[in-house]
Amino acid sequence: MAKKTYDLLFKLLLIGDSGVGKTCILFRFSDDAFTTTFISTIGIDFKIKTIELRGKKIKLQIWDTAGQERFHTITTSYYRGAMGIMLVYDITTEKSFENIVKWLRNIDEHANEDVEKMILGNKCDMDDKRTVKKERGELIAKEHGIRFMETSAKSNINIDRAFRELAEAILDKTAGREPGDSVDRVMKITLESANRISGNMSVQSVLTQNKCLPPS
């Protein structure tokens, strides 16, 4: 038998429309590289990465799913075992954002009630093609009490952070802390942003600080 080289095992799931970059996000996180040459995911794919969090070795078992409707019957069977779900849309594709609601409904139907969720607006390096404003992502996340981040697998923005935050949230839960602080967290981020803007800083600089735009 293989030796147990970790303290905790977290099962994560990546979902979202086809082509939003789920596989690229996962590849960036697991192999720290980016390539556009990915074949489309059929069914379900899989990667492992061990991270250290608060002195604990945590093995992340991450399932990467196919986005198209046809594969939902197989992919939804993974929802049940997942402890964390990353819901990805593409900031340059309006439709993928609109479908977030549909994906959330899927989670409600198939996942454990206390699953940790996070919404990711991917491809934030392509600001010139953006059709979904960051605020809209923040708003929908806030409405559902979910964490939110804009990411870029290509420019390596927030990828590591997203996985760590999700893992941390699960760790909080498994450590028996009071759940339900996720709403506060998003609120806090939004409030912070608001303060910065009112503090005479441009939206641009807020975005820069959130590392979603290169500093000009």
């Binding site: 489309s40 059929i42 069914g43 899989f46 046809r70 019957t73």
Partner: protein
Amino acid sequence: MAYKARIKEFDALLAQDVIRLSSLKKLAFHGIPDEQGKRALCWRLLLGYLPEEKEIWSTILREKRLLYKQFIEEMIVMPGENEINGDVTTGDHPLSINPDSRWSTFFRDNEVLLQIDKDVRRLCPDISFFQQPTEFPCEEIVNSNNVKRLHTRVQRRVLNCANVERRGLGITKIELSKKKASEDYAPMEEGKEAHWEVVERILFLYAKLNPGQGYVQGMNEIIGPIYHAFALDPNINFREYAEADSFFCFTNLMSEIRDFFIKSLDETDHGINTMMSTLLTHLKFNDLDIWLKFQQQDLKPQYYAFRWITLLLSQEFPLPDVLRIWDSLFSDEHRFDFLSYVCCAMIVILKNHLLDGDFSSNIKLLQNFPPMDVQIILSKAVELSKRKLF
């Protein structure tokens, strides 16, 4: 020597006026030689596109190729072409809610096209073939000022912005910010067409002609190897019609495996779930140890075999190996029984690793099949399929 003898056998068989399919299957099951476009020709026969009687080939090919040309003309609908003087009040217009409206068809089609476009641009990225221009582009389309190219219909457009610098009076400098497309699957210039654009058209026409099924991800991986084999045929008379011929062969092949792609048929006799349980039955029969290990680890065939079966293994091996495997699959008397044995052989061959591995490493191994001589797998599969007879 043995290889040369095999080529001779193929030559002898293919030279006959009536090519017995049963003989061809026996021969092709052990692999079709890469030379002289033999594979492309044999696949045409094995997939039922060409009949056994050679004398009617030319008639059939002419008819089918003409039919395909008509499909292109009729189905790559371009609304707006027939509008007179731009008067849209009486006839068809983009906001028409009439279900017969050519405009509403156009918009509906674009939904399908969007998905196809995403997938053909990521077809076989490890070889450059699909990014190369074809010798035989569809003339009406490539010389249409980009209007009729399918992918331009789903291109994401953003308004151009310009930096305007003012110096003193008047504008002195307008700088359009241009971003160079660095994409590998970038569209070609006027008059040229990349192979992936051809594949896009084939899949689009298939989706239009099979509205009940439409386009499902993974179909690109089925048409890919067929088109590749046909478009590289050394015989120019065949190569020129690679698009039309591979369309029909793909359609025939899909008629046999389409149930894998249809969710509502998952539980039926030819659905994907039945195939996966057949595989498990083979495994249990042939190697109880691995079967038990999988049970114990709750390692379901959905995790690996779903993709293996749906795509006929096209994503598991490099293209030359896929072609070789497909020779056998297409020659299978009971299509696609042999596929389940190939899948079973793949598992059995990895026995030592699988019995040692934990859940994660086993999934990883099965999803990223290690490079090996594909002949070993096929021989094992034959062995397993024979064992069942007792």
